[in-house]
Symmetry: C2
Subunit: 332 residues, 2 copies
């Protein structure tokens, strides 16, 4: 297996990316093509001892900034690590299996859509996210690719999510729910009602609306929403966990007894933190494009990069693209 | 001061409501008109020892279910505690100051809009919520009244939020932000961009877009969004805190040392829990209607009801309605 990795993407690139890639080739049976400014990548690689034949460097002189406007960038920076990486995946499908980037999400989505094209029957890409719940893992889509979708796009995302949950997460007959502001069919905006109606008519495993307080309970395996709402939901969760942890640390410091208590609880707290840390589950697959693309959090650590590579490998192993095509074709 | 309270509203009504009302009259200088099925309310009140002259019962034979469709209910159940309570506020402004309900939110919004009417210059009501942040309290609006707003509605909500933050929360020159999926002006849906543009043009304290991970950091005092997104944001937060707490309890039970640690941390953990519990801050004001209406969480405890009454009293003390009218008039 051969995974293309954007060496220049992410807040801590290329350092964190290169470190994650080195970890990945040591742990997994995989080859990596690192795309980026050759000198910088070589400089980072020199820090590590690793099997050189399993990492290839592909020079890409331009870098897309984390806040550059997406579509403009793709047109103007044709030699960026994102464009070069995705073109490589497109043009050498026999040689490369997937593309992983912690870079500018909008640019990765735009480049993937332009260069790889869409799967038959899918009109818009969606970014999924594997999230931990009280019972098992769940899959939330879309967390930011398509902020103004049509109901049909949510149906298409549902079918892709179903395949992802079955194949990659190993969930039999995943339950599919529409993220909405009330349980009743009649709740929400006109868009929610239309999407609900369409999903009810066309999906065998549709359990109806689910409210946002149920995202983490495990009530539902595939949680479907538009990219604006999904992005808000994920970022609220991130922010809340960080603020709650900061608040807790502040309070604990006020009491020596509580500090001792925290030490005693440390291993269990770490267990919770590890479970709650979704970079453990391998970042966010971009679904709907004709190729395996994995988007990692901008703040990805080396471990997150390694896990994103593993997640991409799982998609490859499970032939997720051809399974999705089969799932979607009869419905479209 | 005389506050009208819906005795029949909420998952634990009338028990929790009556208990909260009794607590309120003992702690605050206030009279209460309890609206509901007279017999049931009397039965509950008999459990307590309290100054009888400060609680009046107003009989309302009908009850709106927590999941009844809102507008239908208002038309059909004209003798519900919600309709009777709000009509009382409308018709006897010299006698009553505010209405508090933990009942069906949609029905409270519909009845308030129909009976009380809107403030001049405000087209749609919005439900605000006082939330704790790492630095001080903040105000999020809308959490569910207006799910498909126009940009103008967000501008009107901003002006009302500013008054609420200044007068009730005591924040000088509150910073106003638009909840969006990116910081740059160009981010989000067409709706977000239009709202951003209008707010930038018309609000002196507008700080631009804020992302959902900043809701709880205290970056911004008034966070403005549509009612769908606000509802999702709040319910994700509720659900995540509950799931994280459940997960933590489960992990702690696996280790006697961690259990001891939890005991030592208890007082600090309780402090955090109390700070994070937004029922402490007095529930959710319905802004934009011509009267003071406070919506309490369906799961309100007696303490939450008491705090909602206190929050309503603060709005009355600060003449919030006339201050809002002054703030909005020049802008509209």
């Amino acid at each position: 297996m051969n995974i293309i990795v954007d060496a220049m993407g992410g807040d801590y690139a290329p350092e964190a990316v290169v470190e994650g890639v080195v970890q990945a080739i040591k742990e997994f049976d995989v080859k990596i093509a690192l795309i980026g400014i050759q000198e910088r990548v070589e400089q980072e690689l020199r820090k590590y001892d690793y099997p050189h034949e399993r990492i290839q460097i592909v020079h890409a002189p331009e870098v897309v900034g984390m806040h550059d406007p997406a579509t403009v960038t793709i047109r103007k920076k044709r030699n960026s690590s994102i464009s070069v990486g995705i073109e490589l995946l497109k043009n050498s499908p026999a040689q490369y299996d997937a593309f992983v980037s912690a870079g500018n999400t909008g640019a990765v989505v735009a480049a993937s859509t332009i260069y790889l094209g869409m799967l038959p029957g899918v009109e818009r890409p969606g970014i999924g996210l594997v999230i931990p719940t009280l019972t098992r893992l769940a899959f939330l889509i879309d967390v930011g690719a398509n902020t103004d979708p049509k109901p049909e796009h949510l149906l298409q995302s549902s079918l892709m999510a179903k395949v992802y949950a079955q194949e990659v997460l190993g969930i039999q007959d995943p339950k599919i729910g529409l993220l909405n502001i009330g349980e009743e069919d009649s709740k929400g905006t006109d868009f929610s009602k239309d999407a609900h109606h369409l999903m009810k008519e066309r999906l065998s495993n549709f359990i109806g609306n689910i409210e946002a307080n149920e995202i983490f309970t495990g009530t539902c395996d595939c949680i479907i929403c538009d990219g604006f709402v999904g992005n808000i939901a994920i970022k609220v969760s991130e922010g809340l966990m960080e603020s709650a942890a900061a608040l807790l640390r502040r309070e604990i410091k006020k009491s020596p007894l509580a500090m001792l208590g925290a030490v005693l609880m440390k291993s269990r707290l770490n267990h919770v933190r590890k479970y709650a840390d979704y970079t453990e589950y391998g970042s966010a697959p971009l679904l709907g494009v004709n190729g395996i693309v994995m988007i990692s959090h901008g703040r990805s650590s080396p471990k997150a990069i390694k896990n994103a590579i593993r997640a991409a490998m799982r998609e490859v192993e499970h032939n997720i693209i051809s399974t999705m095509i089969k799932e979607i074709s009869p419905a479209s």
